[in-house]
């Protein structure tokens, strides 16, 4: 810098700081800064802060002291936490299987030519487009213990004699939130897989048909292997999102009845934000990190293998 300061500049010449940006390497760095800043602010900072919180006994308004892994020890001995872990796995597992099966089926149907194709494709996306909280409120009313329209319908169709206690019974409440998640997630699968299907040349299928392959064989030996990389990415996204799901459960059941439908995120929210024990809340939400990390690694490795093949 000392040398630079002794230089004499012609009036109007660019300053050295800006000249530095003429260098492509510096420019590349500067252009990356906004992304880095955003990732740092909204992902790295909260994550590190979460880790720091989870090893203290911080409460709302009280910074707390370092307590090591006491919070983790506490939550692993907590029955509600164990229920939440179990629920999260069941919720993610069941919904992913159904979303994939129904989404693939829908994608195959939409991939055919029929009248009103564009309209139907747009229409299918509705559950995905409506803000989740709004649509979940509608579902909450449909499952309302007293005023359920589903019960009304089933009763008037003569299928039930009493009332189904959708959100008041622990098992039925779990089934209810699973139904809503599937309803909301199928369009994402359908549209993504449809995009994948459209990249597969129809000639392959036609050639196989000429060779005498049956529809099921054409699907299994041609469509499915070619669609696999897209499917894996879609499943990966869905698993991550479902695992950390919050809105549906928060609106529909609030984790009830008696904590029977809590997931990681809703339980962490109840403890951390509701009761204000930030440290325990952070520990609960961090507990899902190793699982998600493992899922991501396995799936990414698998995707790479499929792509290399």
């Amino acid at each position: 810098m000392a040398i630079a300061e002794t230089r004499i500049y012609m009036p109007g010449a660019p300053r050295p700081r800006l000249r530095l940006l003429e260098d492509e390497r510096w420019l590349a760095f500067v252009l990356l800064v906004p992304t880095l800043a955003l990732l740092g602010m909204f992902i790295a900072y909260p994550f590190v802060r979460g880790i720091l919180l989870s090893v203290t006994n911080a409460r709302v308004g009280v910074p707390g002291e370092f307590v090591g892994l006491a919070n983790f020890y506490k939550i692993f001995n907590d029955g509600i936490f164990r229920t939440s872990v179990y629920n999260t796995f069941v919720y993610t597992g069941v919904t992913t299987v159904f979303k994939l099966a129904l989404g693939l089926w829908l994608a195959m149907l939409l991939n055919r030519n029929f009248r009103g194709k564009a309209f139907t494709r747009a229409f299918i996306l509705l559950p995905f487009i409506i803000p989740t909280v709004l649509s979940t409120f509608a579902w909450k009313w449909m499952f309302d213990p007293t005023f359920s329209v589903l019960n009304w319908l089933l009763y008037h169709l003569g299928l039930i004699t009493g009332r189904i206690n959708w959100l008041g019974d622990p098992d039925l409440a779990m089934i209810s939130i699973i139904i809503v998640n599937i309803w909301r997630g199928v369009p994402f699968f359908a549209i993504s897989l449809l995009a994948g299907l459209q990249t597969i040349s129809p000639e392959l299928s036609e050639a196989a048909a000429i060779d005498g392959a049956k529809p099921l064989q054409r699907f299994w030996y041609i469509t499915w292997p070619l669609l696999l990389p897209v499917t894996m990415v879609v499943v990966l996204f869905s698993v991550i999102q479902t695992f950390a799901d919050f809105q549906i459960v928060y609106v529909m059941t609030g984790g009830g009845p008696a904590n029977a439908t809590h997931l990681f995120a809703t339980y962490a929210y109840q403890i951390g934000i509701g009761t204000g024990i930030l440290s325990e809340g952070a520990a609960i939400s961090l507990a899902m990190f190793p699982v998600l990390f493992l899922v991501v690694i396995i799936q990414l490795l698998y995707i790479r293998r499929v792509e290399v093949r």
Binding site: G61, P145, T146, G256, P257
Partner: protein, 436 residues
């Protein structure tokens, strides 16, 4: 036209990044110089007329009298606590926040002591009730300013009880059980939420536990005492009471559900504030009984029945916290003092039509109480209420038990099929984590 060059864009970007860095470094949202605005966060009142009165009359008057702007925000009651957490942690948010029961004890480090205002109101209005002090003060500091008590009483259908031969509301739990069983058999069950909602669930289960002689902790505030024969008995009673007399949807109800169920005439009795009756008064022709009469003429109120060890009540308490992060503490406190001035508070009190019982004794003599005999039981809610945390203090730990819904969940677990002993044991384990 201005030419956008790469350099201009970069310069702009650097300035923006610098600005954000400044905000992050100061740890505070930018404050803009303008007239003082007090941000006041309250629940969506179950008596909507009171929120209208605040917005249309009281707030404009306060703005004029105090020379400030007031931003009144109302949210669902269950969302208040999350808002407190978010505001305290970010160091910015509403200046005044309403909280329920003894919740302000949880935020003692983040609120301004309101002892002077509380004592001022107490001295002027015949004294704060013991209950009002227990839930807002630790004996040295008022964490929040007592605002009101929403008395919890059973709203019940007079004619439906008469039809099963019950002319006076049952005085004991056993008698209430017998009546409820007959009513449920006629398709008119009792209704009770046993869920994570701030009002109805705790106001039912705490008094039930107390009336059987159960308590969460000894008077020392340390020795967990819930696992007793008495608590187990109360849980056993609740299990059969719920199955045989109640609308079983209640496990998924919140504080508004029983209002809807009662007004749509699917339940015969429910523990509630007076909001059901008040709504039936407000829209007399909308709510008509099966006999063609106005529903308001068929509603009466009664306290929860007696148990083997006495009769108790837990009434939802409302108070306002003045947040210590607030840059407008003086203005916010002036506003609190202004709304607590008898002439202003009275307008609000009257608009509640008895739904709210003030936290001081003098209001028991107000003419509002004589105007409608149906509302009479609510008059003394503040005098008779017992604070959560009994037999210990109603402080931070009791507030944590309450906001984690441990006592509520103990009953809910048993209703869902756990044995009474297991449910109580579970609650004992949870309480020990908090109290020891």
């Amino acid at each position: 036209m201005t030419t956008v060059t790469r350099r201009n864009v970069l310069k702009g970007g650097t300035a923006l990044a610098g600005g954000m860095a400044g905000i992050l470094a100061s740890g505070r949202a930018p404050a803009f110089a303008q007239g003082t605005t007090v941000h006041w966060l309250r629940w969506n009142d179950f008596v909507p007329a009171s929120d209208q009165l605040l917005r249309k009359e009281l707030i404009p008057a306060a703005e004029k009298a105090l020379g400030i702007k007031i931003n009144l925000e109302t949210v669902n009651g269950n969302d208040l606590q999350p808002r407190v957490t978010a505001s305290v942690q970010s160091g910015s948010g509403p200046d005044l926040i309403m909280v329920f029961n003894n919740q302000s004890a949880l935020y003692a480090e983040s609120v301004v002591d309101l002892s002077d205002l509380a004592e001022e109101v107490s001295n002027r209005e015949g004294g704060l009730y013991k209950y009002s002090r227990a839930v807002t003060s630790d004996g040295k500091k008022f964490n929040s300013m007592p605002w009101t008590i929403v008395g919890a009483m059973n709203a019940y259908r007079k004619s439906w009880f008469e039809e099963i031969g019950v002319t006076k509301f049952p005085e004991t739990w056993d008698a209430y059980y017998d009546a409820g069983k007959k009513l449920k058999a006629k398709g008119r069950p009792l209704g009770q939420a046993v869920s994570h909602s701030f009002g109805d669930p705790p106001t039912f289960v705490y008094p039930l536990m107390w009336s059987y002689g159960g308590k969460e902790v000894e008077a020392d505030g340390k020795t967990v005492a819930i696992n007793s024969k008495n608590t187990v008995e109360s849980v056993k009673f609740m299990t059969s009471f719920y199955k045989d007399t109640c609308d079983e949807g209640g496990l998924a109800w919140d504080d508004t559900s029983n209002n809807r169920a009662f007004l749509s005439q699917t339940i015969s009795s429910t523990l509630n504030g007076a909001s059901i009756y008040i709504e039936s008064l407000r829209n007399p022709d909308k709510y008509i009984t099966e006999k063609g009469a106005q529903l308001k003429t068929d509603i009466l109120h009664a306290p929860l029945p007696k148990g083997p060890q006495g009769q108790f009540g837990l009434h939802t308490f409302f108070s306002h916290m003045l947040m210590s992060y607030s840059p407008n503490q003086k203005a916010a406190k002036d506003l609190l003092r202004w709304v607590h001035t008898p002439a202003n508070y009275e307008k609000w009190f009257i608009s509640q039509k008895g739904f709210a019982t003030p936290p001081t004794a003098q209001w028991e003599n107000h003419e509002l109480w004589g105007a409608d005999a149906v509302m009479d039981p609510f008059k003394v809610a503040g005098k008779l209420g017992q604070a959560p945390g009994y037999a210990g203090p109603a402080g931070k730990k009791a507030a944590e038990v309450l906001t984690k819904y441990i006592i509520v969940d103990m009953y809910a677990k048993a209703i869902q099929g756990a044995s009474a002993e297991d449910a109580v044991k579970w609650a004992e384990d949870e309480l020990k984590k908090i109290y020891t």
